[in-house]
Amino acid sequence: MLDRTDIVYYYDGTFDGLLCCIFASYVKKEIPLDIIDQNGGQLQLFAGKQILTEKEKARRVACGLRDKAGKQAYAMLQRGFLTCLPQKEITLLRFARAAFAQGSGILRMLSHPAVLPLANALTHLRREAELLTGFVRFTEYEGVLGSVITPKNQVLPVLARHFCDRYNAEAFFIYDRTHRQVLLHYGQRSEIRDAAAMEVPDISAEEQCLQSLWRQFYDTIAIKERYNPRCQRTHMPLRYRDNMTEFQTVVQKMPPGNGALQKRAIQQKRYGKLLQTENRSHITEGDSISGNGLYDL
């Protein structure tokens, strides 16, 4: 019989580690109360079992799941690991057990209690990645394109395919400040690395010129008779705007012909109010990227 225990599994935070937790859960015939990343810094209140990550066990679970429930179910498990679902590990364990029990039919059981939360979390991940394919803004630093994002889910592996294909001839990076990871791409190669902070040089006058062109285009293209901030917010939630060129308020030099320094006070007036009410705790952590002059030119 299955035991629903009050035991907690601790694992190393990797996907293979999670697969080993699934393995352990079958060996001991128990479903843990929770599965916790030992690097997460949480206090270890419950009696816990340390689950060691072993490649062979992980491989067996992965192969087993693919055989039993199909590639698609395994892909859901992999993707699910990237989501920001609270207690995603235990949700994934429940899903894996259901998939082993039901086979590939699990993909159709959209309202099954083990599938539903995962399916919803995956939708969230997919939606966020879709939005970000559009909302990522690159800035050129001496020939290298760089971008900062603050997503809720770990979208970099999802974004990588799109951007590496599109900008295959460029050298670029996308820094995920929430998860402190960076996607690097140069010379047809790309990788995702952990990075605690990201230092970037100041941007050139030419780059400032282009940014002001884009802001000008952005402001001009709106029809003022149809002004509709609610619709705008529906499609582009406020939390994305911190990292987008068109919403960044800077003092900058206008392109030649116009000469003088100009403040972009209009936009500040228009969006300042909205931005103040937003929860910005995730960027006031004092990490080096937010205070390095990228936004305070």
Binding site: F135, I221, E225, R226, R230, G257
Partner: protein
Amino acid sequence: MDIYEKLTILADAAKYDVACTSSGADRRGKRGQLGNAASIGCCHSFAADGRCISLLKVLMSNVCVYDCKYCINRRSNDVPRAIFTPRELADLTMAFYRRNYIEGLFLSSAVVKSPDHTCELMLRTLRILREEYGFRGYIHAKAIPGADPILIRQIGMMADRMSVNIELPSEQSLQKLAPDKQRSAILLPMGQIRDGIVQSKHELVRYKHTPKFSPAGQSTQMIIGATPESDYQILRLTSALYQKYSLKRVFFSAYVPVVQHSDLPAVDTKPPLLREHRLYQADWLLRFYGFSAEEILDEHNPYFDPYLDPKCNWALRHIDQFPVEVNRASYEMLLRVPGIGVNGARKIVTARRAGQLDFEDLKKMRIVLKRAQYFLTCKGRMMQGVGCDPRMALRGLLQNEGKGQAFSLGAQQMSLFAPTAEDTYQCLTGQI
């Protein structure tokens, strides 16, 4: 004049164009070249009016030889004029694209000197982008009516999507407001593009690497609310355009009064946003839900109901076909249930293969029952406390907005009142 001023003038002149989508073209990246295109398209930003910014939407030039009364670029209007050089525009597109600001270029133009001259300018820009810079992003180009078919064909070989503006819903209106334009001159390139696309598809079957002609199809747009056509006329025209010219999209643009003229609505008229919203709803019903124009409106009801969306309206008039059983109804019938869309219907069809569905399951699958509850049964039963009665459904549909009690239930009387809060809301949040 520097590029900053040019961009300001020419983006401002292009902002009333609505077809800013980047969908329909699928093209993987190529080693060493910039760009790709995905058929679902991509929105890069949303302007303060809530409209998607996907492409760098500009005019090649706003110097125009025509004098269309509704248009801000007409010859007799005193506005600053500018022309991009092909090189400037191509460079700007590349710079914006590299920074992921845009998905590509939307190139339209006023008519400089002659349609041929204008097309040549546009063609030069596209040549620089595609041939010299190896740009693989999305390009939407307007065909200028009256231009040489050879030029239009060449533009189509460079662009992903082409469009010809039909401008106004009827020939009389066109004669009245755009005396320089002929309906036949508009339909001619439209037909040419259609034939080009068909021919290109045939050739592709035989020769894999033959260049594609306008692979993402063609679209058009018309102005709503500047002229007296009824919704039914507009919808029939839309439907005919889809059938006869195999268009991908027909766009509607609520007329924003920019000019004082006796033939046009007064300058302080609000753009008819609700009407535009209803037309888009009906347009979706035509394209994705298997409705025909005659089912949505007819001679006796030539205008949309301001309270009820077209699908609810249809369902209430055909209440004898409801309620439908979730576990047995065909996909086509599920699509006709108000509140269930393409995604919802697909989810139901998938999930019911795994077992009988109940209202609880539908809720878990995030299918919104606000409207659908009046038209559905699960395992032979309606939702608790709901009956399939048109009066009850109507009351419920309106009560959902918290306004139901205020209306009397006679359908004829309804149209005397102002639109409901929900309609106003939808038309406010609706994206075009």
